[in-house]
Structures are given as structure tokens and as C-alpha cells.
């Protein structure tokens, strides 16, 4: 799962910013000049369309991060905002189109000339690189540089943060890392072939029809071996994108400037407007919001949206609301229903819970409609092929269907209800609110919940995510959340429904789904190279899980992004996960 930074700072800041909001002067910059660009600032002007389209080049974008990057090294980052930011200074084999709305869900070739060519068994994938692509120092990019980039990303000793798709799917034959590679050119991984400087061939250990999704991963960023300093490479990543690093003070700030060796004729995707990007790290989160509203900052790079109190202020003030976008995040907040804990081993007891839930309450726990839409099933609607269905009257009875719940309770032999425990992450007030809402709603059906908070740092590794612990401590319900690494059924649904990913040692995200039929469907999908056919399989998985009431969906998450009116070419990118597509942004002079 792509990570999103949690709500720690939000929790800490809520009360005081509330006071601030009351005490401090309201209103931010009121410049609604509509000259020279076209678009008028209005609520959701960047959703599904481009706000303020413009060809004017130049200017500096000032960004801030309330924390710090995992790493600027593409082999070592995993947050959605980091992948979005990567587009400034790196290129991958394929990438997302730079367009809003449904167009953003399309993969287009970047370093490669076209999308991947698959073998019949979907285990071999071939790409041909464009000619004329160079690193920032002018040396040409070859397929070997791409191979090296993937090789080093395999070393989870040195680069612990990145995803492990290549580790899992390449036919490694024991290959560990280029740093332990005996061959002189350090390209000893046989699973990737580079017959010439423009061609690269991947050999997988099992078939995977959606390999293009792997090809867009940051790991396929080319890295010049001569400049690879391992863990220190992040101090100066060699750029292939339109911008390169001018300076990098770790933990403090860094600055990107135009890369003279990036050639627009080799890159049909990006249209870089800016001259300069300045990013400050470890900036106080409330301060970021204040600065955005006052015009002293252009963008909160983390992209999880305004702090809760600022959200309220912005939504309540029409002058501010017109600069806001409600972005869907490709994420589901839900609750796992654990069949290991009696009486939830009985499907009817599980269904009773789904019927009795107060869905509006669940939504309110996440901030009401601004926080997301009530989810009736698992797959967020943006995922290609997703189908919406409602098996338990979520929409017709949003406050809960007590009658059906009671009927299900009778069917599972607990007519007066039962008791079980519910876990949530202690530092997340929204999860606490979810647990409390469920506690209240289920009590009406006689289902008594005892709430158990756990520290979020160990939630999956030691508590809810450890099957023995969950079973021993009677954790029948466990708050959970999942965001797809990319908008595709595999990225979204496989990690949380595949029973074979469940490890006894802990660290699981699939806390409840062990259905052989689902596993088979997932295998089928992986082998399927036909996109349309594959897309039909995901909703079947979704339906099977929902029929078995192993997951209680909560909301499809949304967040409120702030779009200062002096920016141009701003739009929400669904493919990247509901972030603004930073590489397209410009500033009005």
C-alpha cells in the first residue's frame, strides 16, 4: 500500500487551531484576478478539469512538507506524494498521462517508445527506449541504466522503504543486490536482459498481465552506476526529468532548477512551466495552512489536504472555498471482520454487523461528506472496472438496518446479540470516532463492543496484524484502511484479500479474508493480459468478499486540497492517487 502520512499532527493541532481560527483574522489572499489565463477560481475547479490553463513559463513554486521524505532516491520512496513529485526530476519506462479526470488513469510510454510487449504467457515483457534521452550531465541513458536502477531497488538492506513488486515477481534466481554482485559491470541479474542500449526485457517468475503498472514504478528510473553512492545517492539524485537538484540540505530544504539536458522532443508527457522549485522540510503543519491561505506558500507537497480546523474554516468561507478542491484519494477506510473470533466465524453474525452499522456515523467519523463518500463495497469507483453494488442496504438505510440485523442474529444463534472487541489505532482520532460510532450503533442490536486502542507504529506488526494476537485477544473488528499503489484492481484488492499474503509473524494488512475462490480469481487476473478481461475480475473478488461479510466498508476517502489562485495548470490527478500533478503547475507572474 502506498503510504499516506497519518493524522498525528492533525490530532495535535485540532484544538489549538480551532482557537486560532476563532481568534485570528480570517480570510486569505483575496486575489481573484481572472486576467491572462481564463479560469475563474471556484470550488472543485481542479477536479476533472484544468484550473487556469496557461502557457506562460517562469516563476518559482514554493512548497513545504510538514515532515520529511522517505528518501529522494527513487529506489527508496513509497509515499504517493513522493511518486508524484518524482515526475519533476525522474522518468520511468512508462508513466501516467499528465491530464485530469479519467485521462489520468491511462499509462503512457515515457522512457519507452510504447507500452510493454508481453509474451503469450505474460511472463516476459519487452520495452524499447526512445533515443536522445540524457542524464543531467549529458551522458545518454541506456537500457543498462534502467536495469541497474531496478537491480539496486532489490536491495532491501540498503533501501528499506520501496515496494517489493520486483522482488516478488522477477525470476531472481538468488540475486541479492548489485552491491553483492560478483560480475564486474554489476549487471548480473539474469532476469533482466539488455541485448542493446535501447532494449530491455523482463523475465517474471509467475505471469502478470498488468506488468505496465510495475514499469511505472519509481524503481525503473535509470541510475548511472558511476554516480551510485548507495544510501548517499539521495543527496544528489542524477536527474532525467525536466528539473534537477541545485541544492539539497538533508532534513531542511532542497531546490530544483531546470535540467538543460532534458529534451522536450523526447518527452511528450510533461510540459514544465516553472523555472525553480523550492521545498522546505519539517515545517509546522498549522503554519503551512496559514501560509497557504495568506499567500506565503504555494503548495503543501504532502497532499493529504488541509488540517481539520482549517478545513472547517475554508469550507465555511466562500472566498476561501473557491480555492479548494475535494479530491478522491483512491483509498478505502474500512473495518475488518475477523472470522477467527467467535461468534464471527458464523457468516450471519458477520452480516448482522454490516446491517447494524450506522453508515452516516462512519462517514461523520471521517469528517462528513468532505471526508469521503459512503462506501457500499470495496473497490473505489475510480478503479477501472469497478462496479458499485449494495448488498446490505447501506444507501437505502444509512443509519443502519436493525430489522435485518436482528434477523441475521437469530440465524446465527445469537438472538440477543453478543460481545466482541474492536481495535483501532490510538493516535488516529478518526479511527477512534469510527470505533465509537460502531459501538453505539451495534449496541442497538445488542452487539456489545469493547474498544481497544493500540499504538499505530505497531498496529500491524504486533497487534491487529498478527493473527495469533488478534485471535487470542478476541479482536473481532479491526479498523483498517487501504490505498492502492496504482488505480488498478491488483494494486488495490489483492493485498487485502489474498489469503496467501497472510503471515503468522505479523505485518499483515489482510486481516480477515481467507477465501479459496478469491485466491483463484486473483491468480486468474494476474495471468490475464487482456486489460478488459482483467478488469471484469476485480468486481467479482469484491462481490465475493462482500457476500461473505468479511469486510465492513466505511468511506471512499476524499480530502480537501487548497489551490492558491496565483497558480496555473492545476488539476487533481486520479492516477497518482488524488494529488495535484505538480510537474504541470506554473505560477502567474
Amino acid at each position: 500500500m502506498k503510504r499516506r502520512p497519518g493524522a498525528i499532527t492533525a490530532a495535535a493541532g485540532t484544538t489549538l487551531v480551532l482557537t486560532l481560527a476563532l481568534a485570528a483574522c480570517g480570510g486569505g489572499d483575496d486575489e481573484t484576478s481572472t486576467g491572462g489565463g481564463g479560469s475563474v477560481a471556484e470550488y472543485n475547479a481542479g477536479v476533472g478539469k484544468i484550473f487556469n490553463p496557461s502557457d506562460v513559463k517562469g516563476g518559482t513554486l514554493r512548497m513545504a512538507n510538514a515532515g520529511d521524505w522517505d528518501s529522494l532516491d527513487p529506489a527508496d520512496n513509497y509515499y504517493g506524494y513522493e511518486w508524484t513529485f518524482n515526475r519533476f526530476y525522474t522518468r520511468q519506462l512508462v508513466t501516467w498521462a499528465a491530464a485530469p479526470g479519467a485521462d489520468s488513469l491511462k499509462l503512457v510510454p515515457d522512457l519507452a517508445e510504447s507500452l510493454g510487449q508481453a509474451s503469450a504467457d505474460a511472463k516476459t515483457w519487452t520495452y524499447k527506449l526512445r533515443k536522445g534521452i540524457k542524464f543531467e550531465d549529458g551522458t545518454p541513458v541506456t537500457s543498462k541504466d534502467v536495469k541497474y536502477g531496478v537491480e539496486r531497488s532489490l536491495d532491501k538492506d540498503v533501501f528499506v522503504n520501496g515496494p517489493t513488486y520486483f522482488n516478488d515477481f522477477l525470476d531472481l534466481q538468488g540475486y541479492k543486490s548489485p552491491y553483492k554482485d560478483p560480475s564486474p559491470d554489476k549487471l548480473g541479474l539474469k532476469a533482466i536482459e539488455t541485448p542493446d542500449d535501447q532494449t530491455i526485457i523482463f523475465h517474471l517468475i509467475k505471469p502478470f498481465g498488468g506488468f505496465d503498472y510495475f514499469a511505472q514504478l519509481a524503481a525503473t528510473t535509470p541510475v548511472p552506476r558511476a554516480k551510485d553512492t548507495g544510501i548517499k545517492y539521495k543527496e544528489h539524485v542524477v536527474a532525467t526529468g525536466p528539473y534537477m537538484f541545485e541544492s539539497n540540505q538533508l532534513g531542511k530544504r532542497f531546490v530544483l532548477v531546470r535540467n538543460p539536458n532534458w529534451d522536450q522532443s523526447t518527452d511528450p508527457i510533461r510540459k514544465p512551466m516553472l523555472d525553480r522549485i523550492e521545498v522546505a522540510l519539517n515545517v509546522n503543519a498549522e503554519d503551512i495552512d496559514n501560509r497557504l491561505l495568506s499567500g506565503d506558500l504555494d503548495m503543501d507537497v504532502v497532499g493529504t489536504g488541509l488540517q481539520p480546523a482549517t478545513q472547517g474554516r475554508v469550507l465555511g468561507n466562500p472566498d476561501l472555498k473557491k480555492n479548494a478542491d475535494s479530491a478522491s484519494q483512491l483509498r478505502l477506510w474500512y473495518t475488518s471482520v475477523n472470522p477467527d473470533v467467535a461468534p464471527l466465524d458464523n457468516i450471519h453474525c458477520r452480516k448482522a454487523i454490516l446491517y447494524a452499522t450506522d453508515h452516516t456515523g462512519y462517514q461523520n467519523a471521517w469528517g462528513g461528506p468532505a471526508g469521503g463518500d459512503i462506501a457500499t463495497n470495496m473497490l473505489p469507483p475510480q478503479i477501472p472496472g469497478a462496479q458499485k453494488f449494495d448488498l446490505y442496504n447501506f444507501e437505502s438505510k444509512p443509519a443502519g438496518d436493525l430489522d435485518s440485523a436482528k434477523k441475521e442474529l437469530a440465524d446465527c444463534g445469537q438472538p440477543n446479540g453478543f460481545a466482541t472487541n474492536m481495535s483501532y489505532r490510538a493516535e488516529r482520532p478518526k479511527e477512534k470516532a469510527t470505533a465509537e460510532s460502531l459501538q453505539q450503533a451495534l449496541a442497538k442490536a445488542g452487539i456489545k463492543l469493547t474498544l481497544k486502542p493500540y499504538p499505530q507504529g505497531d498496529y500491524f506488526s504486533l497487534y491487529a496484524g498478527k493473527p495469533d494476537y488478534a485471535k487470542k485477544n478476541g479482536l473481532g473488528l479491526m479498523t483498517n484502511g487501504w490505498g492502492a499503489d496504482w488505480p488498478d484492481g491488483f494494486g488495490f484488492i489483492s493485498q487485502i484479500t489474498d489469503s496467501r499474503t497472510i503471515r503468522a509473524s505479523g505485518g499483515n494488512y489482510n486481516l480477515s479474508v481467507k477465501l479459496p475462490e478469491v485466491d483463484k480469481l486473483l491468480d486468474d487476473a494476474q495471468q490475464q493480459t487482456d486489460n478488459a478481461a482483467r478488469e471484469k475480475i476485480w468486481p467479482q473478488v469484491d462481490r465475493k468478499v462482500m457476500e461473505n461479510a468479511l469486510v465492513l466498508p466505511g468511506v471512499w476517502a476524499k480530502t480537501l486540497l487548497y489551490r492558491p489562485p496565483n497558480l496555473t495548470n492545476v488539476y487533481v490527478h486520479d492516477g497518482l492517487g488524488g494529488y495535484y500533478d505538480y510537474v504541470s503547475i506554473g505560477v502567474k507572474k
Binding site: 528499506v160 503554519d287 495568506s294 505497531d458
Partner: protein
């Protein structure tokens, strides 16, 4: 006196070792007492989809699999003699004192600490000057004009200063003075002193005032109480009997005695502050040690936490030492032969 200082310095070194030992133990023992294994510990520092093998490797790399004495010994050796670290393709030497590498970012801790120290020092020392002047000054005037409007107003404001949390006053001040009025620098601004002294002072102005406000309040109350007591001493009456101007009596005779305990408290406060001006740094996004500490703790990053603990302990110990020595200088009755 010299022997005294030497003895205290030796004790200081021992104390620092003990502090690191205790910190280390907490990191090492507490999770294990809760039943966590080396792999459980390592799982905090890996990516979300890490496999068992990866977790195991990280546990090895970070040394969690080794017994406690080995881990601690490695740390002390690094402090004293430096250590070697693998960057992937090469090995790097981390010279003594080596505080290790962050578990999360793999950046070396000691250079980061050194880099952030001037920020905290600038913040603390600048605020200290302000709060001494403002606090002691207000306290003296309040004491001398006890019961007057100034006294009551000052003590009320002081109460507010002591009660309002720094992140509240800080964010509010930023909001008003930096963004609305544009008089002071926005959050996150810091220019090193050697680069541009004027910009350095301008950037720190609001943080200084915010931090000093809290302490000035404390010192105003302290000074006032101290002065009220001192001014009833017999030697004050003697000073007046000599025909001294009242102003001289108050400042040269009265304040001089009151300052003695206040200066010692000041030394201790400053020592503590140097270790962790956490809230102010977080509020104003200043890249100092306090903020560094918070990040370290939130991410369970042991090398960083050890580094910050050592630095903070060092300052507190030095502050105590200076205060003890200073006390002997400042109060001749306490002098050691």
C-alpha cells in the same frame, strides 16, 4: 577551585555514560519485556510490504539480533573510536565521536546534530537575553511599586505568560505579525549568523519574543518576590542610613542580592532550554535540536534519540557546573577555600 572543577568534569563524563546506558536500556529492554523479538523491533524500520527475510536482514543490520552488551559496546566504541558503515557500494568511515546512523534516514547523526546546534543556541541565547532584561526589569519595578497599577498589570500579564502554551502564542503571533501584518519573518526562516547577522536577528525576532515571553513572566514573578524579601533586610536600612539615593539602594544593594538565586536558576533554565527548545522550534519550524528530538522520538529512531539525549544531558551538566562555580564567584560566603 580548579580541583573542584576537574572533579566535576570527571563526574560529568561518568554521568553522560550513565545517561546513554539508561537510554539504551530503555530502547533495548522495554520492548523485550513486552515480548517483542528482534524482528518485531526491526519491523518498525522497514517498508510496508517487507517480507520476512527483509525484516530479518534489517534486524541484523541494525544490530537488534545482538545481545545487549554487544549493542551497547558497539555504540560506546563508535563514540570513542569511530565506526565503519556500509553505504551499499562502499564502506564509509564515521569518525569519533560517532553517534551512529539514523535508523530511518540513514544519515549520520553527529553532523546533523552539529548542524542544528547553532539554531537552538541562537534561539535560546537570544531569548535568554530578552527575558532576563524584561523579566528582571519588570520584577524590580513591580516590587518597588508594589500594589500600584503597574505591579498588578505586570503580574497579570505574567500569569498569562506562564499559562499560555508556546505553540498557541507562537502560531497566533505568526498569523498576526508575519502573515497579516508582514512585520516579522514567516515560519521556517533561519539565516545563520555568519551569513547575515541582520537577517539572522530578523528571522529569529518573533521566536525570541514568543519564547522570552514565557520565561520573562516567570522571572518577573521571581524577581518581584525576591526583591520584596531583600528590601526588608537590615543592610538595606544601613545603605539608606549612609545617605544613598533610593535608586542606588534598590539596584546596587537590593537587586544585587536578589540576583544571586535568580542567576543560578537562569543557568539551570538555560541548560535545560539548550537541550530542547522543542515547542518553539516546532511551532516556528526552526531546524534545531528540539525539533530533531521530537522527530526522533516519534519514529523510534534510537541513534538520533541517543544523540539528542547526550547533547541535552551535556548542556544540563555543564549548566549545573557553571552555576555551581558561578555561585561561588557571585556569593563570597560560599567560596571554597
Amino acid at each position: 577551585m580548579v580541583a573542584f572543577i576537574i572533579r566535576r568534569l570527571i563526574a560529568a563524563v561518568l554521568l553522560l555514560l550513565i545517561v546513554t546506558f539508561v537510554t539504551f536500556s530503555i530502547f533495548f529492554l522495554v520492548p523485550r519485556l513486552a515480548g517483542a523479538s528482534a524482528e518485531d523491533l526491526a519491523s518498525r524500520y522497514v517498508g510496508r510490504t517487507a517480507g520476512e527475510e527483509q525484516i530479518h536482514e534489517v534486524a541484523e543490520k541494525l544490530g537488534f539480533s545482538d545481545p545487549f552488551p554487544v549493542q551497547y559496546g558497539r555504540f560506546v566504541k563508535g563514540l570513542v573510536a569511530g565506526a565503519d558503515y556500509s553505504t551499499g557500494p562502499t564502506t564509509e568511515y564515521c569518525p569519533a565521536p560517532c553517534f551512529g546512523y539514523s535508523f530511518v534516514t540513514y544519515n549520520p547523526v553527529f553532523p546533523e546534530l552539529l548542524d542544528r546546534l547553532p539554531v537552538t543556541l541562537s534561539l535560546a541565547l537570544g531569548a535568554a537575553v530578552l527575558w532576563l532584561l524584561a523579566g528582571v526589569g519588570t520584577g524590580v519595578i513591580s516590587a518597588v511599586r508594589k500594589g500600584s497599577f503597574f505591579d498588578r498589570a505586570a503580574m497579570t500579564i505574567a500569569l498569562a505568560g506562564v499559562s499560555l502554551p508556546v505553540f498557541f502564542t507562537g502560531l497566533l503571533s505568526l498569523s498576526i505579525f508575519s502573515y497579516k501584518l508582514g512585520w516579522t519573518a514567516p515560519g521556517g526562516s533561519y539565516t545563520p549568523l555568519q551569513e547575515n547577522p541582520a537577517a539572522w536577528a530578523y528571522d529569529l525576532l518573533l521566536p525570541w519574543i514568543t519564547l522570552a515571553f514565557l520565561y520573562a513572566a516567570l522571572y518577573a514573578r521571581l524577581t518581584r518576590a525576591g526583591m520584596l524579601e531583600t528590601m526588608h533586610e537590615d543592610y538595606i536600612r544601613s545603605a539608606r542610613a549612609k545617605g544613598l539615593r533610593e535608586r542606588t539602594v534598590v539596584l546596587k544593594h537590593g537587586l544585587r542580592s536578589t540576583l544571586t538565586p535568580i542567576l543560578t536558576i537562569f543557568g539551570l533554565d538555560l541548560g535545560l532550554l539548550l537541550g530542547e527548545a522543542v515547542l518553539t522550534e516546532s511551532t516556528f519550524s526552526l531546524p534545531g535540536i528540539g525539533k530533531y528530538a521530537v522527530d526522533a522520538i516519534l519514529t523510534n529512531d534510537l541513534p538520533k534519540v541517543l544523540g539528542v539525549t547526550l547533547v541535552a544531558a551535556f548542556f544540563i551538566i555543564i549548566a549545573n557546573l557553571v552555576v555551581d562555580v558561578l555561585y561561588a564567584v557571585v556569593d563570597p560566603r560560599v567560596r571554597l577555600a
